[in-house]
Symmetry: C2
Subunit: 167 residues, 2 copies
DNA sequence: ACAGGATCCGTAAGTGCTTACATTTCTCGG
DNA sequence: CCGAGAAATGTAAGCACTTACGGATCCTGT
């Protein structure tokens, strides 16, 4: 017994469906990565990966630099920093040339953990490549979506559609 | 001055990059939808959409039914329910045939809000269709990714790769 | 008829981000 | 050289979910 509803009610809940779908997929992937670390008996969380990886690849890096490189806010980096320092994997020094800046670097423990995790990261990277191939280049599709959003956000598009419908 | 690192260190941080990218995109879309509601001076949050939409489309629904329909946990639905009841948009009754079940339905205020939001939802849905077209069917790509993950999760794939590398 | 287990739903706490706001430090024009 | 504004970072709180767990109710086999 479906209830009454406006005749022009949008059935295909587009934006919400797209957002929800993206969120579910990302959670699925993060969760799986976490399980792999647990199975390997390594104390490591997926959200630490970005910062740790950058430090391995580029050495000493400030919070701000890491945020830019990872495409997240400095706050996100700062929170990871806090966890990594608490775990003894990363140390922070003040930049002698700029007292505002905190420069992060791997500790010996951090380097050891990276060596221990490298095979798992390789496996995950290969699994991602495999998935991407099997899904016929979903990464390219995501890049196209990002490019389309850069040209005009979903907000701009919705505003335009709203305005043209109600002149 | 790049630091030393294992020779086989995985540079392409596949799984992490994929997960992070999906997350960023979903946040971008949700945030934009929220801004549109704010611009229309409507007190509404994007996370309420799924439940509200289901109630419009199908009338009275239990928490569990909604969770299945939306592909989230019953907890997520329960939290939205709490907010929607607090806002006076939704009422809940016990199912006379099953005392465990809480059946949700729109109130008059809820119905009024839906009528007021319908144009915005239509616009968002059309914007999503437009984006999807412009990105050459990113939805189809996401569906292929979901299907690939259903066949074998990223965890299973990574495990297999790890095992075959270390016999 | 009722014990044991399954189901439905709730709260609490955690995750991985975000925005908003505060603090400290730097820089540059007057 | 000093004060205004900019920049780097930090904390607090929120968001949209999740898992973990517990209470209430239902169902099934004996």
């Amino acid at each position: 017994m479906a209830p009454e509803r406006p005749a022009d009610y949008p059935r295909a809940s587009g934006a919400a469906a797209l957002g929800a779908r993206l969120r579910r997929l990302s959670e699925r992937i993060d969760r799986d990565a976490g399980r792999l670390y647990a199975e390997l008996d390594v104390r490591f969380e997926q959200r630490w990966f970005g910062v740790l990886n950058q430090l391995v690849l580029h050495g000493r890096r400030s919070v701000g630099d890491l945020a830019v490189a990872l495409g997240v806010t400095h706050v996100a980096v700062s929170q990871v920093r806090q966890a990594l320092v608490a775990e003894g994997l990363v140390a922070e020094d003040r930049d002698p040339r700029d007292g505002r800046s905190r420069v992060l670097r791997l500790t010996r423990e951090g380097e050891a953990l990276v060596r221990r995790l490298a095979p798992a990261w390789t496996a995950l990277a290969e699994a991602a490549v495999e998935l991407n191939t099997e899904a016929q280049d979903v990464l390219a599709a995501l890049e196209r979506l990002e490019a389309a959003l850069d040209r005009s956000s979903i907000l701009d598009r919705a505003r335009r559609i709203l305005d043209s419908a109600r002149p």
